[in-house]
Structures are given as C-alpha cells and as structure tokens.
C-alpha cells in the first residue's frame, strides 16, 4: 500500500536532487543549499566523514606493514585498479575494487572510481589550471566534435568564484594561454626548476615554465578557517585525506558547508537506478534509488535533478533512464548519448639529470609540480597533428648512498648519505585527445551488476593523432632539456592504457544544437531542461588542463542558472 502520510511525502520530496558527492556533486550541493533549496544528495558509496574517516592520515611510513607497497594478492585481485599510481597501501580503502563494480572493456580502458562521500575528490591530483579561449575555440577552429556553446568570458567569473572558495595557490603569470585566477601565494619552484624556467624563457618565445596552480591553502585565512580548514603543511600525504583541510575536497569543504545550511539531506548507499521521466508532464520528476545494502527501491522527487555521478556513471545513468518519450536514454533524441568520449594522454615522459647548482638542495615535501602550458598549435595549426599537450615539470636533488657490499661498509654508507652529483628532472605529457563518435560507452544488453543495472561497456582507444603527439613531445622536450644543459636525457612511453589519467570526459556533451549535442550552454539536457549534467560527462573537448576546476566552475554556473529559472517559473 502506498504510504501517503505527510511525513512520508516530506521524506521523498525535495526542491533539488544531486546524484553524486564528488568534485561537482559537492559543489551542486553547496550552491543549491546556500540558495535555500531543500536538497537531497545521493551517494552510492559509504559515508566518509572529514578527519574522522582518514584512518591512515597520521601513519608514519614505518606504520605501514609493506611500506606503502601493494601486496601481490591485491594486485592479482585488481588487475585494473593496480595500474593506478594512487592505489597504494595507505589509500587502498578509497578505491573501488575490480570485483565490486565490473564493467566491460571493448577496448582496454581502466575505469578508476571511489565510491564514498567525496568520491574521487579525496584522491585527486589538485592541479587547477583555467581554460582559455584557445581551448574553448579548439573544436570549431580545428573541425572536430562540435563548437563549445560557451567561451572564457562565460566561465571566468565562475572560475574566480570557485577558486576563492576552494583555495588555489599560484603565481599571476600573465599568460593568455592559461589565465590568472584568484591566487593564494605560490609554492616555490626548486632551484633546478627555476633554472629551467629562466632558460626556457630565454630560448623560446612561446614557452613558459610556471609553478602549477594547485588547490592548496598556502597561509592561514579566516575564510578558510570558517570552513574548518587550515594551511597546507607540506606533508604530501594529501590523498590519504588531509585532517588539516589543506587541500580542497568535497569532504573537507563543500559537503560540510552545505550541511551547515540545514537544507541538505545526504543519503549513502543510494545507488541511482534511473531518472524518472513523466511523459504527461514532459519533465523529469525524480529518481529511482536502490538501497546498496538492503536492495529495496525508493523513489524521490524534485523539481530539478543534478547528475554528478562521475563522467561514466552519469552516462550510464542517463542511458539506463528509459521512458516512452526517451526509449534510448534520457535526453537522447539524436543517438549521441555515450559517444564522443575522450580523456588525457599521459603515456609519455622525459627524464634527465642536471649537474649544475650543486650547492643547493630542497626542504619539505611539496604536494604539487611545476607546469608548462600548451605551446603547440595554440594560435594556429603548426604541426601534423591536432591540438597539443601541457606538461608537468619536476626537479629534485636526490640523497643517495652506496648500496654495494655487505656489513659495516654498507651500514656506514647508509648512515652517511650524500647529495647526488646531479639533480633529477622529469616531465610528463598531458595530451589532449580528440573526442570521436567511435569512442563511446554503452550498456551491455545482457549483463547486470549486483544492483540490477546494466554493465557499462567502454570502447575508447588511442589514435594516430595521439601517437604523433607523443613523438612531438619527445622531440620538443628532448630539445628543451638538451638546450638547458641537461644530460642523460631519456624518453619513455609507458604504453599505459587509457583511463589511468582518471580524466574520462564526454558522452553528454554541451553544444549549441540539439541535433548534435545533449546539453545546452547551461548544462541542461536540451530535451529535458530540469536535468542538469555538470560533471566531466558534459565536456565537448578535453584540452590539456586538469579538468576538475572547469567542472566545478561549470557546476556553480549551472546551479545559478537553474535556480534563477526555477524562480522565474521556467523550470
């Protein structure tokens, strides 16, 4: 029998529903609740409370039984996940194990997930570089995907808004390729990084080495104390969860902030099966939620629904939301839902040594890296491949001891280490990949997961453009390193499979035309405007920047628009 008591009605009816608590779900929750909307936030994983649930945060290296190395058993049980650089002994509890939520790899693709409050925002890389119009204009200029429906000026105020709240450390570098933001003091470059910065500036008009902008609080500020967050203490154990709140995560920042408004209802183990579409009312009315532990189904209702489940899960959810009006998935009138997936190509790296600056060392553990913004094909097409790459740059002075021999000689070496004769430098490529119709995610027709939801099929791979870009990266960085006087320059292609960048994007892309895109310029489904998708699934192209900052800015902007539309009774 249907339970129609007032309490029951209140329990399942909200102003807004947010699916997901990660990077963008947290932002949607914060913005919606601050604007006074009674908001239900659904997290498919377990509850993970800031500070309380960081069991390894304070462990010394010797307190980890295997000194942070994965055991063979974990590797054997998790062939996909164990390829992820962040999956280590101290952080193993934060990642979804291979067997927990299987998917089908039509082409090899590692799908790395975190099912808990905060999602992957606990373990993210924290690099936050803004896009410029050179990025937004890419697809239109180079003739791939579709034109972005927005430009830098549309997002710039929202970048600022997000940066001020999350805390971003960086220099004002004055680059048109990488616009400046609302920065807290920058972290220092190391001596060799600063040397390389100067050499590159002297040798190349179009290339710059800067300190990476990262989502860390440098210093102590009242506005972050109000969030319960303090300054970064350079432990570089961020991904365990930072008890100080030194870096931004949903757990440390947006979720508790939303909670304080009194407008947030947060449910865990809430696996959203599908979005309910009402053919008569021609709108989405709610969501069907499976209790992840008990298995029963509950329906919740709201005026607007934010889909922030993480790129692939957002695709999966929309594909699985079938109705008479949308037999191929919610909003999927053009058959493009799930298509035009792209990612970042992180396969290539260059390492070298530098024998200069022997009198210097570093001190402390910097949780960020230097950054080289894209310089290829920026203002015009100049190579045989489309688009380009940004790169990390890191230089440190290793401490070494002679590991030869046995006994007192060896022991004496260990007790008397010395600074290496040379600095070690390295650069990692972050390449843009081209979204293509042939790169897609879909639903398996037969196999279902433990919650009765079809398994996701992933078909994404590298293409010739990616290979050509790797070759160019090796050439250019080989030359830059060589001109800077670095020696023992080595290039490496890890051949790692797509996905380990953990930057999967697209499938529900934004665009101007409902015939060729799923979302409008406000992240609303063209065909169902009270459903808003503002996580990585919305990305029309990938550019080279680490994407979370852009997702967060898009989300804050989308909430602002949706709530205004609600108030104007347009939604």
């Amino acid at each position: 029998m249907t339970d129609l008591t007032i309490d029951r009605v209140k329990e399942v009816n909200f102003d807004a529903i947010v699916i997901g608590t990660g990077m963008t779900g947290g932002w949607a929750a914060k913005e919606l609740t601050e604007k006074g909307l009674k908001t239900l936030v659904l997290e498919r994983g377990r509850e993970l409370v800031h500070v309380r649930d960081y069991p390894t945060a304070h462990l010394y290296p010797y307190e980890l039984e295997h000194r942070n190395r994965l055991t063979d058993r974990l590797i054997q049980e998790n062939p996909i996940l164990s390829g992820c650089h962040a999956f280590t002994e101290d952080k193993q509890h934060l990642f979804v194990k291979d067997a927990e939520h299987p998917y089908i790899q039509s082409e090899p693709f590692s799908w790395i997930r975190g099912y808990q409050t905060g999602g992957r925002s606990i373990m993210w890389g924290r690099m936050v570089q803004r896009w410029s119009d050179y990025d937004f204009e890419g697809p239109a200029r180079d003739g791939f995907a579709v034109d972005w429906p927005i430009r830098y000026k549309d997002l710039a105020p929202w970048y600022s808004y997000v940066e001020r709240f999350i805390g971003v450390s960086g220099n004002r570098d004055g680059l048109d390729t990488l616009p400046d933001g609302e920065f807290l003091p920058p972290m220092e470059l190391t001596a060799v990084e600063d040397y390389f910065r100067q050499r590159v500036a002297a040798l190349y008009k179009d290339r710059r080495v800067i300190m990476g902008r990262c989502a860390h609080i440098t210093g102590n500020y009242e506005r972050y104390r109000n969030q319960g967050r303090g300054g970064c203490q350079y432990r570089n154990e961020c991904r365990r969860g930072c008890p100080l709140g030194g870096y931004f995560s949903s757990n440390s920042s947006t979720i508790p902030w939303a909670m304080k408004t009194g407008n947030l209802t947060l449910k865990h183990h809430a696996v959203v099966h599908s979005i309910i579409y009402n053919d008569h009312r021609e709108r989405a009315t709610g969501v069907r939620v499976i209790d992840g532990l008990a298995g029963h189904v509950t329906e919740y209702f709201a005026k607007i629904i934010f889909v922030n489940a993480g790129s692939f899960n957002s695709n999966l959810l929309l594909l699985n939301s079938r109705s008479n009006r949308f037999p191929e998935g919610l909003g999927n009138d053009n058959g493009l839902l799930g298509k035009y997936i792209a990612f970042h190509n992180y396969r290539a790296s260059v390492t070298a040594e530098y024998r200069g600056l022997p009198e210097y060392r570093t001190q402390g553990r910097r949780p960020a890296s230097a950054y080289i913004p894209r310089f290829r094909n920026v203002k015009k097409q100049e190579t045989g491949f489309l688009r380009g790459y940004a790169a990390t740059f890191n230089g440190h002075r290793p401490v070494v001891f002679d590991r030869n021999g046995f006994g007192h000689r060896l022991k004496n070496s260990m007790l008397n280490p010395s600074y290496s004769d040379s600095w070690k430098v390295s650069s990692g490529m972050m390449g843009e990949t081209i979204p293509k119709e042939s790169s897609y995610v879909g639903l398996d027709p037969d196999q279902k997961d433990r919650w009765g939801v079809p398994l996701l099929t992933v078909s994404v791979s590298y293409d010739d453009n990616d290979e050509a870009m790797i070759g160019d990266f090796f050439e250019q960085f080989g030359e830059m390193f060589s001109k800077a006087g670095f020696s023992d320059i080595r290039v490496r292609d890890s051949h790692r499979i797509p996905g380990l960048d953990i930057h999967e994007m697209g499938g529900v892309r934004m665009g101007k035309d409902p015939e060729t895109s799923l979302l409008n310029k406000w992240n609303q489904l063209h065909a169902c405007p009270n459903v808003i998708v503002s996580d990585g699934a919305c990305m029309t192209s990938t550019s080279t920047q680490n994407p979370s900052l852009t997702y967060m800015a898009l989300t804050a902007r989308a909430v602002d628009h949706a709530v205004n539309e609600l108030r104007r009774l347009n939604l």
């Binding site: 010394y60 010797y62 063979d72 220092e188 060392r361 007790l415």
Partner: protein, 183 residues
C-alpha cells in the same frame, strides 16, 4: 667470523614450521635462521647504531617476500634460499678443494659473483646459483629498506618530519651538516 662452523646448512634440515605471517613461503625454522643470519651480515650490530638483529629485520624481509613478491618471485626466493643451504653444505664437505670453507660474508660474495661458466666448472647447477643470487639480492634490498624505514632509523638516526610546515625549493647546502635522507 670465519671458519667452517659458521657456514650455513651444515646441519640437517629441520621440519617445516608454521610461520603464519609468511605461510606462502613454507619456510622451516632453520631456513628462517639463515635469513636472520643473512640480515645480520648485511647490517651488523656494533658501533653505536642498532643492526638488523636488534630491529628484527628478518621479519620485515620475510613479510615483504611473502606478501609483495609475485608467485614466480616467491618460488625463486624459496628455491634460492634452499639452494644457498645446499651450497653451504657442499662448501663444508669440500675442505680440500678450491672452494674452501669461508665466513658468511665471503660465502655470499662468492655466490653473488659466480658466473655460469664457473658454476659449471664447479659442477653446480646454474639454476641453483641464479636463484641463490636472486634470494640474496632480494633479502639485501628488503633489509636495506627495512632498516632505513624502521621506526628506530626514522626517529633516532634520521628523523622524519610528519609536518614539515614549509617547502623551500632552494636551500644552500651546509657541508658541515649531516645529510638526512628524509629532509
């Protein structure tokens, strides 16, 4: 050190014993003693600084070998350990040959330095020598790791700061200052 009495494996193998922390290796008590002995040779006690036996590094070595090596590596590790036992017995029995009784350190050096041709000349199985080398090198690496990441080392020898509080990218090296690998 030195002399036949110190050479490993002169006594019979004892029965396999139960070491739950590293049961995948199926190690006997005497075999564990050999690992212990080897750790001590790698990082001896003495001077004012603790060594492998004070820190029970053999336990760390065995847990790492048991848990973190893959199946093939574990097999090579155990075979290498047994081969080393066997080599020790042969050394003992061959008192008049060119392969005379040695102290532990020299014995390990002989094994680590042995090439295939020399093994063949000595009528030794090359596979045994190869596995023994793998075993020795693996124990050595884990012993070194266990030492420099022990609580003792990271608090009393080269303190590890959990909360550096700052990062400086360009610090002038003071040649008088003792170098700390965790600084």
């Amino acid at each position: 050190m030195g002399g036949a009495a110190l050479v490993p494996g002169c006594n019979r193998f004892s029965q396999s014993e139960d070491f739950p922390a590293y049961s995948d290796l199926s190690i006997t008590g005497r075999e564990k003693e050999l690992v212990q002995r080897l750790c001590t040779v790698i990082i001896p006690t003495g001077d004012d600084v603790k060594g492998a036996s004070d820190l029970k590094l053999e336990d760390f070595v065995m847990i790492m070998a048991n848990d973190c090596l893959d199946q093939q590596e574990r097999t090579n590790f155990t075979s290498g350990l047994r081969a080393l036992h066997l080599l020790g017995r042969m050394v003992c029995q061959k008192e008049t040959g060119e392969f005379t009784c040695l102290d532990w350190e020299s014995f390990f050096r002989v094994v680590l330095g042995m090439e295939e041709a020399e093994a063949s000349r000595r009528h030794l199985e090359w596979r045994d020598i190869r596995d023994a080398k793998y075993f020795l090198n693996t124990v050595k690496e884990f012993t070194i790791q266990g030492f420099v990441t022990s609580e003792y080392f990271m608090t009393e020898i080269m303190p590890y700061s959990m909360l550096p509080g700052k990062f400086r990218g360009k610090v002038l090296i003071d040649p008088q200052e003792k170098v700390n690998i965790y600084d």
